[in-house]
Every structure is written in structure tokens, then in C-alpha cells.
Symmetry: C2
Subunit: 134 residues, 2 copies
């Protein structure tokens, strides 16, 4: 329920469509906007899916994963430990990888470049066992 409190605190309303998207994302996978829209059987507009994802991302409830094929996927991250992903280039399957050692790099780069680092993205790409056989 932390998510709804966060949404309220930011001055946004708790609406039906927003709860639908939240619940859908909480199932734990990494979805595209279209998959969310279709998974919810068009009980809301695709426009609203995009707008909701924008807000949830801004509030840190959802994170965006940009893949090298140009697609964007969204993940509900509240209560999850920071992690990265392993993506199968054959079937698109996404595994979560525990742990992250990028924080040190962030600090080093911050000092070197005078950038204020806000985050990072790391994905590994490969072929899953099943796709290796094909």
C-alpha cells in the first residue's frame, strides 16, 4: 500500500485505472505499455496506460528498462531490492539478477566528471538454454 500513499502524497488521485495498472504490474513481470493495455482487456485507454506509467516512474514506483531492440518495459519495484536483468535475445525472456556493484562506479564517475549521478541501467544479453538448441 506504500504505492497509493506515495501517489496521494505527490498530489495525484487514486483512480480506478491507476489501480488496475498497479495491480497488473505487481504480478512481477516486465511489461510493455501495450502488454499492460491488452492484459487489462481494454478496460482503460492506452493513453491512460502511458500517462500512468509516466507518473509511476516519476514517483519511483515503477522503473523503465530500455532494451537494445528499442522496446521499453516497465517493472513495479517498490519493495524489491535493486537489481538488473538478463535478456534472452531469442525468446525475449527476462531473468532478474541479484546484487549490483555499480554504486562504486557511480561515485568514481561523479568525482571524475562533476556529473550528479541519478541512476544507472545494466542489462546482460544472451541466449537461454532453450534458445541455444535451435
Amino acid at each position: 500500500m506504500k504505492d497509493k500513499a506515495t501517489i496521494k502524497k505527490a498530489g495525484y488521485k487514486i483512480t480506478g485505472p491507476r489501480q488496475l495498472v498497479l495491480d497488473f504490474l505487481k504480478s512481477g513481470e516486465h511489461y510493455t505499455a501495450k502488454e499492460i493495455y491488452e492484459g487489462l482487456e481494454k478496460t482503460l485507454g492506452l493513453t491512460t496506460v502511458y500517462r500512468t506509467l509516466e507518473i509511476l516512474t516519476e514517483l519511483g514506483i515503477v522503473e523503465t528498462i530500455a532494451l537494445t531492440d528499442g522496446s521499453l518495459r516497465y517493472e513495479y519495484v517498490l519493495g524489491k531490492k535493486h537489481h538488473h536483468h538478463l535478456v534472452c535475445t531469442g525468446c525475449g525472456d527476462i531473468c532478474e539478477l541479484d546484487g549490483c556493484a555499480i554504486k562504486d562506479l557511480e561515485e568514481k564517475v561523479a568525482k571524475q566528471t562533476a556529473y550528479v549521478i541519478s541512476g544507472h541501467a545494466l542489462e546482460l544479453y544472451g541466449l537461454c538454454p532453450r534458445c541455444q538448441k535451435k
Copy 2:
């Protein structure tokens, strides 16, 4: 010239449009397909830019950088050492970061998951000194 030999060896022809794209990318920045098209003053079709980038990527001459805003940028990497990027979320500026410590992680993950790892993407995001002032 390694690039043209690679293209030939793969059975593709060396054409005017392909040389234009190669030369444009060699200037060293990280461009979108549209920037390449417009930078070349429409002396070739946008379709050809996309097709050429696809081939160059397949041959490892060019690499794709997927940003969390959904955009794709392309970089000529032949002769460059493997590296990652620091992206300013304010102005879009991209710095190159030397070195990479992800190879170890790749091996660890390969063992853990039985995936065959083909590569990885790592980008840091932040605000450049100039954008911090705004």
C-alpha cells in the same frame, strides 16, 4: 578500412549510401537514425539508413545504445576499446567512460543461469555541471 573488408566478407556490397553512413558515424558521436539521415542532407533515403544500421550492427561495426527515454543511438566502434556511457538527462549529452568490469559478472551469470552471454549494456544517468545550474 577494416569496416569495408568486413562488409564484403559478409557478402554485402560496398555502396555509396553505406559509405556515407560509415563516414558520418566515424565522426565519433552517438547518433539517432534521424540525425544520420538529416546530417547527410537527405542524399539517401531514411529507409536505407535503417537498413544500413541493421547490417553494421549485425557485423559488429556499429553498436546500439538504448536509452531509458526510448531512443536508440548508434556508435561506430571499430578500433575503439569497449566502453560505456554517461548520459545527461537534462541536455542529452553523452560522455564515454573508460574501462568495464562487467566481464566477470558475465561469466558468473553464465555459470549460474546456463545462458550463453553475448554482451551487455551499461549506462549511467545524471546531470552535467551545466544542467545542474538550471
